[in-house]
Symmetry: C2
Subunit: 256 residues, 2 copies
């Protein structure tokens, strides 16, 4: 029995600065059917408050705790593991990390630093890793659909660069880490088999959710979806649908 | 019977701007013993003529053809495979590639671009790969010993980033590619088992040379060498010696 739904944001609810047609209505229908809805995003360019405001601008009201972000999960990880972070993240994300205690073994925290990735920044992180620091990846995505409609390299590429050069393996905080999906399940008070995921990334949204034990994972053909994605990763999606509106139809079809 | 020796440059003959003590004398002794000497470097920050001048400044006379560089091998590859190159290389290396025909399927050519690596440059290369370009790596090294004495990320890290994001596997031109060692053997007129390699990189110099069939590969404890390197890669070095002078002693010991 379906009790909750996890939604990716970029490529599912909006695309750049534009709401995907039918997305706001789909979210209203899911909620009206009594389903818990949470948003699990690997976006590491914007702080949580910016995302809440962006969604409000699209007519979608979301409480802060309903947004499950890698930054929040990374703060929990750094506190639990008592690490001093060195951040390689987008300047806009820095305020999320303010007030952290800085004591203990160092950890390099890598997000999608966007245009602020350059040789000097990455090399400083590399040197910290060579001196014994841990490597924490906020996200490990290969690419995202950029504002010009073309794919752009995401944080995972820079995680791969640091892993290759240093030989240090990253701990991934965001999707597809099972712990990230479980943080959303805890907030909903649902068990994994009672929840479905909807995303445009066949690897981190779909295969990640199914590996974490979720009952279903739908791949939408919006955002960065490319034909053939459904066959590229294991496990494959439960279903492939046109967009979030079609995903809501699919999820609500046995409740008619 | 030993007939020739291949020497790495950075970390073996010199370290940053400094000649490694005993290096010039060792090269003289190897040549005086009738051995063919060639230099196989993955350095992709300097054109061949700069390397010749740098070695002359250290009192080591080298003819251009005795320097086997990834740029020269890449030009041969691009001509043979009829590719239009998009270069992600150090500005100083660009003149090496002038006059190439630009026709055929595109190929992204990545070297150690140093401080010119930034998000915009890498993302343009990534987009070319997503549009179907091939990926050619001048070198695939993890790190080099920088002028401040600390390790810095080398071209291989950026090759790993592009491979991860795009899913396109790179063709490696420089060490440890067997074809690169074979280009040096052809220039010497020697068979692989008649030649020994001396390097500070247990992976690309030592394991690469032995995989290419060379008779021996010595690892020196200068340059980027770190204790334990001899056990990190397969096959392991034939011997581990203090520096190039000790390597010459080892290679010439049965000629006394």
């Amino acid at each position: 029995m379906l009790r909750g739904v996890l939604l990716d944001l970029a490529g599912v609810v909006y695309d750049g600065d534009t709401r995907i047609p039918g997305a706001a209505g789909a979210i209203r229908r899911l909620r009206a059917a009594g389903l818990a809805v949470r948003f699990v995003s690997n976006t590491t360019r914007s702080p949580r408050q910016t995302l809440v405001e962006q969604l409000a601008g699209f007519g979608i009201g979301v409480a802060g705790h309903e947004l499950i972000t890698p930054a929040a999960a990374a703060i929990a990880w750094l506190r639990l593991n008592k690490r001093t972070p060195l951040f390689v993240v987008h300047p806009k994300l820095r305020p999320e990390f303010e007030g952290l205690p800085f004591a203990g073994k160092p950890a390099v925290v890598v997000g999608d630093a966007g245009e602020t990735f350059d040789y000097a920044v990455l090399n400083e992180a590399f040197r910290q890793l060579m001196a014994g620091a841990d490597l924490v990846a906020l996200a490990n995505n290969r690419m995202f659909k950029d504002r010009d409609g073309l794919p752009s390299m995401d944080a995972g590429a820079f995680v791969a660069a640091l892993e290759f050069a240093s030989g240090v393996k990253a701990t991934v905080i965001g999707k597809p880490a099972s712990a990230f999906f479980q943080a959303a399940l805890r907030d909903m008070g649902c068990a994994a088999p009672e929840v479905a995921m909807v995303g445009d990334d066949a690897e981190s949204d779909v295969a990640g959710a199914l590996s974490a034990g979720l009952g279903a994972a739908l791949l939408v053909r919006t955002g960065k979806y490319r034909p053939g994605d459904e066959a590229r990763f294991d496990p494959p999606p439960t279903a492939v649908v046109k967009d979030l509106a079609a995903a809501a139809d699919w999820l609500l079809s046995d409740r008619a």
